[in-house]
């Protein structure tokens, strides 16, 4: 395993621990405003300083990890499972199911900027965490479906699959026991990169005011609140720390994804 992958894994483990133990790690109440304490620079009292309403940025970044990870995990899990089921069925049975899924759905969904679809959906549904997760799942599953379909098309022609079929194994058995375990590897890479994508999309939509509504400590919301000129002037740290949190999280999942891809595909290792 390469060094960057390990760095990525370490960051993710820390992130998960921070999210789980957030109430114990946070030093202040995330919602407690105090205008006499606004724009304080980082100090022993407030590790990351305070924002324009005097809230403790460290505590908010810590609780923000919960929102980011929740969105990432739910979106990736739901999209990957849906995508795998539909992609496997399309690849295995071919025929009209495949023609609809790969001929129509793939072409249409991939011909459309995903973020725009999510923005449009949330714009009409109204902002909120669950609606945001729903929108990201609706655009997210297609990538997994296309990947698995391609894999299944390849694996189903292998000799051991033909042998299983000759022995009279049922379709379900062939698909679940023989094909999927051999088709699923690239999915892990895709899921890891998908986590990065979901975390980014959540922050982006929250930044636009379409995700988690403001008092919640979403990293995207924090950046949106920190970017007006007077706050930038007085407290650039209000922007920098949540920005760093997003960057590190995305970077970590990208490291893991890249590392896994190299690990699973030795041909790439030499490059």
């Amino acid at each position: 395993m390469n060094r960057l992958t390990i760095v990525g894994l370490v960051i993710v483990v820390i992130l998960v621990l921070v999210a789980i133990f957030a109430p114990w790690i946070a030093t202040h109440d995330v919602g407690a405003t105090n205008l006499s304490l606004r724009y304080l620079p980082p100090s022993a009292q407030h590790f990351f300083g305070t924002d324009s309403t005097g809230r403790d940025i460290f505590s908010r970044v810590v609780f923000g990890a919960r929102i980011s990870l929740k969105v990432g995990i739910v979106v990736v899990a739901v999209s990957a499972v849906t995508g795998t089921i539909l992609g496997a069925l399309a690849g295995y049975y071919s025929g009209w199911v495949d023609r609809i899924i790969s001929g129509y759905v793939f072409n249409v969904f991939l011909a459309f900027p995903g973020l725009l679809l999510a923005i449009a959906m949330v714009a009409f549904l109204g902002a909120g965490l669950n609606k945001l997760i729903l929108a990201l799942c609706i655009i997210g599953w297609v990538g997994y479906a296309r990947l698995i379909r391609g894999q299944v098309l390849k694996v189903r022609e292998y000799d051991f699959v033909q042998a299983a079929r000759a022995l009279g194994a049922s379709d379900a058995r062939i698909l679940l026991i023989h094909i999927l375990p051999n088709a699923i590897q690239p999915l892990i890479v895709q899921a890891s990169l998908g986590m990065a994508g979901a975390v980014l999309s959540e922050a982006a939509l929250s930044f636009l005011g379409l995700g988690v509504p403001p008092p919640a400590p979403s990293w995207g919301v924090m950046i949106e609140e920190a970017r007006d000129l007077s706050t930038l002037q007085a407290a650039p740290h209000a922007l920098i720390f949540p920005g760093l949190a997003i960057a590190l999280t995305v970077l970590a999942f990208n490291f893991i994804g890249d590392g896994l891809r190299e690990y699973l595909d030795p041909r790439q290792r030499s490059r």
Binding site: Y104, N107, V108, A111, F112, P113, G114, L115, L116, L117, I119, A120, M121, A123, F124, L125, G126, A196, L200, A203, A204, F207, L208, G209, L210, G220, I223, E224, A226, R227, L229, L232, Q233, P236, L239, I240, G243, I246, A247, L248, V250, L251, N254, F255, R271
Partner: protein, 334 residues
């Protein structure tokens, strides 16, 4: 039938068919999205205090009093669902008919035609996207070539690391950071608006940053791959200088996959422009969508913006595909 599939026009017709299918889906999605609005759009636009007459007038003016689609399955008084046919006089067909005539309806707020609002903003977005593309290419090609030529050295590692950071830092983090450094601290560039060229710099860099990172990686691996080809050895054996080998031979072939990425990323740019425009108050389609459309619940404006951005994206992808085929004759054959 088989001879039809083999006809040389088939790939072209297939693409046209997919294009029409995608446009049809997008328009359908956009028209039906308004059904997702919780409650009544008239109430959410006019507010609870409006009189029943005002609601009635609003619904009539914007066609909201008509049924949404050809049929519906409403509940009756007893709670049973029944199929009900509405015929051609529904919002879906009306939106289509208007659209074919170049009409996207009127803004719920200002009564101005949506197409006019979009026309005012469209150029600003295209200007921003093209500037970002230019900046990305100007950064990525030299950086990628240097990294690829010096594969495995510290130069390569540094370039790859910078690229990775660029990918991981989203526009809504880079943008405000640039504002802080160049507008607040140094006071070199304006923080927002669109007047002379100096207003374009920060938004274009923000939007182009992620793309330049992706491109750098592409150019790098492309250069590495091409450097291993036979024609490079031939060119070197001929005694060509290394610069000539790289910039004349390697880059020419290595740029083919890059063009595809560029085209596909144009869509990402258009979506990213929504965020960039919000950061810098850049008066493009994204700002129209976010502030005038979503912010003021002007659903007609949202429909129009989503439609226009999508169609631009689809057309850009089609053009990319054509350029790609033209650049690499091998793809034309297969």
């Amino acid at each position: 039938m088989r001879s039809f599939y083999k006809h040389k026009l088939f790939p072209f017709l297939r693409r046209v068919a997919i294009f029409l299918l995608v446009v049809w889906t997008v328009v359908s999605l956009v028209t039906l999205l308004i059904e997702l609005v919780p409650g009544d759009p008239a109430v959410s636009v006019l507010g609870e205090q409006a009189t029943p007459e005002q609601f009635e007038q609003f619904r009539e003016k914007h066609g909201l009093d008509r049924p949404p689609f050809f049929f519906s399955i409403p509940r009756d008084a007893a709670g049973e669902r029944h199929f009900q046919w509405h015929g051609a006089k529904n919002r879906y067909t009306e939106y289509w008919i208007a659209l074919v005539h170049g009409d996207m309806g009127k803004s719920f707020r200002t009564d101005r035609p949506v197409i006019d609002l979009i026309r005012e903003r469209y150029l600003a977005t295209i200007e921003l996207a093209l500037a970002a593309l230019l900046i990305a290419v100007l950064i990525a090609i030299p950086l990628g070539v240097v990294a690829g030529k010096n594969k495995g050295t510290w130069i390569d590692n540094l370039a790859s690391f910078v690229a990775l950071i660029g990918i991981s830092l989203p526009g809504f983090v880079i943008g405000p950071l640039l504002v802080y450094v160049f507008a607040v601290k140094l006071d070199w560039l304006p923080p927002s608006g669109r007047f002379d060229w100096s207003y374009l710099v920060l938004p274009a860099v923000t939007l182009g940053a992620a793309l330049s990172a992706i491109l750098t990686r592409m150019v790098r691996s492309s250069v590495i791959e091409e450097l291993g080809e036979d024609y490079v050895r031939t060119a070197r054996a001929k005694g060509l200088s290394e610069t000539k080998v790289v910039y004349k031979h390697v880059l020419k072939n290595g740029l083919i996959p890059v063009v595809t990425i560029l085209g596909l990323q144009l869509g990402v740019l258009l979506a990213g422009a929504i965020i960039t425009e919000k950061i810098f108050g850049w008066p493009g389609l994204g700002l129209l969508l976010v502030e005038d459309g979503i912010g003021k619940r002007d659903y007609r404006v949202v429909q129009g913006c989503v439609l226009v951005i999508s169609i631009t994206y689809i057309v850009a992808n089609m053009l990319t595909d054509m350029v790609y085929r033209w650049l690499d004759p091998r793809i034309r054959v297969s």
